[in-house]
């Protein structure tokens, strides 16, 4: 596409404004995390009085950050992996097979996107409590309860994206395999999944981000042992002080893996989305 000077100016201005908007909070995040405590108590300074990495050392002992990090990792990774499996299984028949009730199923799953979380927070909790008595499985305050909750939250969007993606894959691919005697599931696993990798990555990232940042349900479904980062970070605001430097150092530390992972897959993300969902 030919670029007119007008378009170049538009691009320059847009990108400058957006870069400043995006970077400003990130700059504050980074610069505050390397300031000594005295330096974060008063007026914000653009440059640290003195650069120190002490907050990155102290943050582990001020609160049990390592435990929260472990909890978040266990919950988020398990929920993401399970969500992928469940979503792939559900998306495939939606894209390829005919069965009675398909429309109802897809409509219902998608409409759950509009349920306000606040409406089913308490009922879900009460059900979990009831379930504990019936099944003898610890659901509140355990990883398990949180995992199945997050896994389900990620499902509607994931199923919808994957179904779109699967549809975009030529049917001939599986048919050729099935003529060779492979079962449908076999074809899904060996033929479709490898081709659909960008779409699956996109879904995985989405599911991960959803679970990693969830606050509301984590506040009710976790206890001291299973508390996740989204709730645990609040403890840097203690009875005595808010340790902003440690809080932001911890924030940066727990964000970095997500951001790096995001960067690694972002190329696939865009191609995954453009091949599937947004067409």
């Amino acid at each position: 596409m030919t670029e007119t000077p007008g378009f170049r100016w538009f691009r320059r201005i847009t990108l400058t404004v957006l870069t400043v908007f995006t970077v400003m909070p990130l700059y504050v995040l980074v610069v505050t995390s390397v300031k000594p405590l005295e330096n974060v108590r008063g007026l914000f300074t653009w440059v640290p009085d003195r650069v120190t990495f002490q907050p990155y050392v102290d943050m582990w002992s001020t609160i049990p950050l390592a435990r929260y990090l472990t909890n978040s990792l266990i919950v988020t990774i398990t929920a993401t992996v399970l969500a992928l499996i469940v979503a792939v299984l559900a998306a495939y028949p939606l894209a390829r097979l005919r069965f009675r009730g398909k429309r109802v199923f897809s409509m219902t799953v998608l409409s759950t996107q509009m349920f306000p979380g606040i409406l089913f927070l308490l009922p879900l909790f009460l059900m979990f409590v009831q379930g504990e008595e019936l099944l003898g499985i610890q659901l509140t305050g355990s990883y398990f309860g949180l995992i199945i909750t997050y896994l389900t939250f990620a499902l509607p969007f994931s199923i919808w994206m994957l179904a779109g993606y699967f549809q975009a894959i030529p049917e001939g691919l599986e048919e050729a395999a099935m003529i060779d005697g492979t079962s449908r599931i076999g074809a899904l696993v060996r033929i479709i999944l490898p081709v659909a990798r960008p779409g699956i990555l996109a879904v995985a990232v989405f599911a991960f981000i959803t679970a990693w940042g969830e606050v509301l349900f984590a506040s009710v479904l976790t206890d001291t042992e299973t508390r996740t980062l989204s709730i645990g970070l609040k403890l840097y605001t203690s009875q005595t002080d808010t340790l902003w430097n440690e809080l932001l150092a911890a924030s940066l530390t727990i964000s970095l893996p997500v951001i790096v992972a995001f960067m690694l897959v972002q190329r696939h993300l865009v191609s995954g989305l453009s091949a599937g969902a947004v067409k």
Binding site: E132, T140, I147, G181, S183, T226, Q239
Partner: protein, 440 residues
């Protein structure tokens, strides 16, 4: 190369996923209360949860030594405690003994989840006579057997910075509100010459629902008002006067930094006091742990000022503090009551009140010579002679939210430059009343 995966296998695998997850990932908590073990949920009193564990451990060890009963301790931050209690109430997955904020006592009493202290059960924890009267009164609704007894006593007091007082040529802490405002005005000044004050007479948590409600109560009592009379009574002339006076500290008298309107976590105003940005704060005694954690000891403690002439009662604080309750579902009620008895005994009270900067709830503990400091006397006088409980009603928690929020709103108006007239205050209080009525 092509391996068939039977559909059936995948189906059973996918449905079994849940179970697998259950088995592998269900590493959550599980309370295994053996015969002799009690679980105890403590509130966070000191500088941090970890700090509290260290303080409580010796006290609980002494209990185990005496009785042979082990105690499993969990210290819960304030921000979570009420939620955790209600969760425990609704799920039955509860500790044997727990701490509660004493303003929640009537509310939690109504859930029926706690053992009432009456008859032999009350005697088992030392009897009514053991406790400081004003604190004991917070145990539940009037006329009903209390479901909590006091554990830590607290009261508001006036903290001031003696160096700043000296610099301003002030000799005595103010005793009346009129003197207080005068004093605070002398202490509000521009120290760096940029034309704006950077030292203020008073710092407060103006955005905090709790502190605002407490002072609506305290000042209301001094004006002869009452927050609750068979229902919300916030807009009575006395209460309006009280709230107006409180808000005017910032709005009219300008002795409070407008920035304080954003303060709400209970520590920011202490920070201002420690950093020398304010010469006075009114805080509960536990604020001393915060100051100690910031290595600050340049303060004196005085009684909260009073109106002169005084149309109402000489109240300087609500009877603040932490109470302790026993869950009905406990399998070891006897042991649980013993634990309450142990923690409220004069000996342990001396230890705990020193560690947590609280006031003993057992009258006898005050005889201990370690507790004879001047500031201890001040706090004690306020709690025993000038304190009255917040309204002992189930709606108390909600009242603090609704009332405190509307006062915080008035502070926000004042801070953002609007005038706050008496009519504004009355309207805000009326609005809060309707909200309370409508929600109940």
């Amino acid at each position: 190369m092509v391996v068939k995966i039977p559909a059936k296998a995948v189906l059973s695998a996918s449905t079994a996923l849940g179970l697998v997850a259950a088995l592998t990932a269900c590493g959550g908590s599980g309370e295994e209360s053996g015969d002799q073990t009690l679980t105890y949920w403590a509130s966070n009193q000191g500088a941090s949860v970890e700090e509290d564990k260290k303080v409580l451990k010796p006290a609980l060890d002494r209990f185990t030594e005496e009785t042979g009963v082990e105690v499993e301790l969990e210290v819960i931050p304030w921000s979570e405690l009420y939620n955790r209690i209600l969760t425990a109430v609704s799920s039955g997955d509860a500790p044997d003994v727990l701490n509660i904020g004493n303003t929640w006592a009537a509310s939690l009493q109504e859930t029926g989840a706690f053992v009432p202290y009456e008859g032999a059960d009350l005697e088992a924890v030392g009897g009514k006579g053991r406790f400081v009267e004003t604190s004991f009164a917070t145990g539940g609704a009037e006329g009903e057997a209390p479901t909590s007894v006091p554990l830590y006593g607290l009261s508001y007091a006036l903290f001031y910075n003696p160096t700043m007082f000296e610099d301003a040529g002030i000799e005595e802490p103010p005793a009346t509100w009129e003197e207080f405002v005068d004093t605070a005005k002398k202490l509000t000044k521009d120290t760096d010459g940029d034309g704006k004050p950077d030292q203020y007479g008073l710092a407060m948590e103006a955005g905090s629902e709790r502190q605002n409600s407490h002072f609506a109560h305290i000042l209301g009592q001094q004006y002869g008002g009452q927050l609750w009379k068979n229902g919300p009574n916030f807009s009575s002339a006395e209460q309006v006067d009280a709230v107006k006076m409180w808000v005017d500290m910032m709005a009219e008298e300008e002795i409070v930094d407008p920035s304080n309107a954003e303060f709400s976590d209970g520590t920011q105003s202490i920070g201002d006091f420690v950093d020398g940005k304010a010469a006075m704060i009114m805080m509960q005694g536990s604020a001393r742990t915060t100051m100690a954690a910031r290595d600050f000891d340049n303060y004196e403690v005085a009684q909260v000022p009073m109106l002169d002439p005084l149309p109402g009662k000489p109240i300087q604080s609500h009877a603040a503090g932490i109470n302790i309750s026993v869950f009905n579902d406990t399998e070891n009620k006897e042991g649980a009551l013993q634990l309450v008895e142990h923690l409220t005994s004069p000996e342990e009270q001396v230890y705990l009140s020193q560690e947590f900067q609280t006031l003993p709830v057992a009258t006898k503990a005050y005889d201990n010579e370690e507790l004879q400091s001047e500031s201890m006397q001040t706090f004690r006088t306020i709690l025993t002679e000038h304190a009255s409980p917040m309204p002992l009603i189930p709606e108390e928690g909600q009242m603090e939210t609704v009332l405190g929020e509307s006062i915080a709103g008035l502070f926000a108006d004042a801070a953002t430059g609007s005038k706050v007239t008496e009519a504004d205050v009355r309207d805000a209080m009326k609005e809060a009343e309707t909200q309370m009525d409508a929600a109940n």
